[in-house]
Amino acid sequence: MRRNGPLALIFHTIFVIVMVAPILVVCLVAFTPEGFLSLPTNGFSLRWFRTIANYPEFIHAFWVSLGLGALSSLVALLFAVPAALAIARYRFRGRDVLAALFLSPLMIPHVVLGIAFLRFFTSAGLGGSFAALIIAHVIIVFPFALRLTLAAATGMDRSVEMAAVSLGAGSWTLFRRVTLPLILPGVISGWALAFIQSFDDLTMTVFLAAPGTETLPVRMFLYIQDNIDPLVTSVSACVIAITMTALILLDRFYGLDRVLAGKGDTGR
C-alpha cells in the first residue's frame, strides 16, 4: 500500500543516477581500445581486461583483500555486537568514553594510524605479518560494525526478549535465536560497510602490507605510480562485476531481502 509518490521516485531516480554515474563512466573507460584513459569513442575493446591476466599479482592481491576484508569484518563483529548491545541498553558510567574510544579509529587520519601501527607491530615483532594486517583492519572497521548494530539495537522491544527468557532461553540462546535475528539488518549492514572499508583501505595498509600480503588497493596504487592507464578501470569493473555476481547468486539462492531485512519482515 504505502507506495512512493512520483516526487519520491524522481528524487530516487536522480539520486541513483548521481550515485552510479561516476562508476558507470569508469566501467565504460575500461572498454577503451586506447592506451590511455578515454571513453571508447571508436569501438569497444577487451584489451584492458585481457591485460589483467598479465598481472597475476593483481589476482593474488584480490584474494588477499577478499580474505582480509571477510576475516577482519567478521572478527570486528564478534567484538562489536556485544559492545553495541551494552551501549544501546545500559546507562553506565564511562559509557560515553567507551563509545568515543570505539569510534576513535574513524577520527584519525589513516596515515597516522598506519605509521603508528607499523611502529607498534615492528616493536612487537609482528612487523609485516598477515596477523598484524588483520588486527589493524579489525580496528579500523570496528566503528562501522558498532555504529550500525547500535542503530538497530536502540529502542528494540524488550518484551520479546523477556518472552524468550521466560520460555527458558539461556543468554546465548537468547542472543542467537531472538536478539540477533531482530538486530540482523543492522548487523548485516555493519558487516557490509566493514567489509567494504577493509577492502578499500589504502593509506593505512600501504605501511603494513608486506610482500605477499599486498591488497588490491595497494597493488593498484603501486601500479599507477608512474602512469595511470585503463587497467585501473578494468580492474574496478571486474571487482564490481564479481561483487554483483556474488550478490545476484545470493539473491537467487537465499533472497537478498531476507539477508538484509531479516525473515518475516515483509508484512503489511
Binding site: 586506447e34 607499523l118 616493536s123 596504487f221 605510480q225 608512474d226 595511470i228 592507464d229
Partner: protein, 320 residues
C-alpha cells in the same frame, strides 16, 4: 648468512623491471631470496623511520631528495668499490648512496592539444608564466625534486639562485600560481590530469615523460633554453647492525651496464656510467651525451640547509 634480502623501491613498471631483470640473476648468483617491498619514495622513507633501530629493509631505491634526507638521518650504510667511471653528479658524500639513473627536469606538453590550439611548443621556463595556460599547468610541489628545481631555476634566471630564492617565490606566487591547475607530486595523477584533458603543460622529468609517451599518449619533453636541471634516481644499502654485504652488491648490480641500458630504454634514465656506449635508437629524450653535459646541477648542500624553511614558506605562500 642472511636468507632474505628486502629491497624497497618504486612500484609499477619499475618493480616489474627489477623483478624480471635484476632479481632472478642476483638470487642465482648469491643464493639468496630477494623480496621486493614496493612503495614510493616517501612511503619507503617513512617505513625506514618507523622501523628505526629495527630495520627490515636492506636496500632502498628512492628519489634524490628523499635520499639526501635518508643520508642525513643516518639510514644509509656505506658503499665500497663503486665503479670508477661514474659521473661526479652520481656520487654522494662518503659514498652513502649512488645514483642509478639521471633524469632532466624540464617541461612536458600535450602535442595534440598544442597543435589543435595552434600554440607553439614551449621553449623556456618563462613560458610557465604565459596566461594562455591558465588552470592548465601542473607543477609538482616543492617537496618533490621537480618542483624544487623549478623554483631554483626561476630564481636563478631572475637574479637569485640556491642562496636566494625570493625572486623565484615572487614569480611563483604572482605569475605562475594563476596558471597552476594543481601542484601534483604523484606521477599517476599527473598522467591522469593530462589524459582527462585538464592539463596541457607541466614541469616534469624525462624519465616520466618517456614512459608516458610510451603508452601512446601525445606528449613530448622540452629542454628549456635556460637549461634543464638534473634529478637522480638513487639507491643505498641500509645501515643496520650486521648489515648484509649483499645489500651493497645489489646496489652495484644496478650499475651494471646491461641494467643501465634497460633503464634507459624503459624509463629514459640517463646512464650514470661515462663509458657506456649508447645505441642511437635509445634515449630520444634522456639526458645523454651533449644534453647531459648541458644540465644544470643544483647545489644540494646549500639547498638541503634551506629546504625545511622553503617548504614551510611554500606551503604558506604558494600552495594556498
Amino acid at each position: 648468512q642472511q636468507k632474505t634480502l628486502y629491497v624497497a623501491g618504486y612500484g609499477g613498471s619499475f618493480e616489474k623491471t627489477i623483478r624480471d631483470e635484476v632479481i632472478p640473476a642476483f638470487e642465482k648468483e648469491n643464493g639468496v631470496k630477494v623480496e621486493y617491498v614496493a612503495g614510493n619514495s616517501t612511503d619507503t622513507l617513512a617505513k625506514l623511520q618507523a622501523q628505526k633501530g629495527n630495520q627490515q629493509i636492506d636496500v632502498a631505491i628512492v628519489d634524490d631528495g628523499p635520499m639526501y634526507q635518508a643520508i642525513q638521518l643516518g639510514f644509509c650504510g656505506k658503499l665500497d668499490g663503486l665503479p670508477t667511471d661514474l659521473y661526479d653528479t652520481a656520487r654522494f658524500k662518503d659514498d652513502r648512496a649512488v645514483a642509478i639513473g639521471i633524469v632532466a627536469t624540464g617541461l612536458m606538453y600535450n602535442t595534440k592539444m598544442f597543435k589543435e590550439k595552434g600554440w607553439a611548443p614551449p621553449t623556456s621556463w618563462n613560458d610557465l608564466k604565459d596566461t594562455k595556460y591558465a588552470k592548465q599547468l601542473v607543477i609538482p610541489p616543492i617537496n618533490n625534486t621537480y618542483g624544487l628545481e623549478a623554483l631554483v631555476m626561476l630564481s636563478k634566471m631572475n637574479g637569485g639562485g640556491e642562496t636566494n630564492v625570493d625572486s623565484g617565490f615572487k614569480i611563483f606566487k604572482e605569475q605562475i600560481n594563476p596558471n597552476v591547475l594543481a601542484y601534483e607530486p604523484s606521477p599517476g595523477k599527473m598522467t591522469e590530469l593530462f589524459q582527462s584533458g585538464q592539463a596541457v603543460i607541466a614541469v616534469w622529468g624525462t624519465g616520466r615523460v618517456q614512459s608516458f609517451a610510451n603508452t601512446g599518449f601525445p606528449v613530448d619533453f622540452v629542454y628549456p633554453k635556460e637549461g634543464a636541471a638534473t634529478l637522480l634516481t638513487t639507491a643505498c644499502p641500509i645501515n643496520k647492525p650486521n648489515a648484509s654485504p649483499l645489500a651493497a652488491s645489489f646496489v652495484k648490480m644496478l650499475l651494471d651496464p646491461k641494467i643501465q641500458l634497460v633503464m634507459l630504454k624503459d624509463y629514459g634514465y640517463g646512464p650514470v656510467l661515462k663509458s657506456l656506449v649508447i645505441p642511437p635508437e635509445l634515449g630520444k629524450m634522456a639526458p645523454i651525451g651533449e644534453r647531459a653535459a648541458k644540465l644544470y646541477n643544483p647545489d644540494w648542500t646549500v639547498i638541503n640547509e634551506k629546504r625545511e624553511e622553503w617548504t614551510k614558506r611554500w606551503n604558506r605562500e604558494v600552495e594556498r
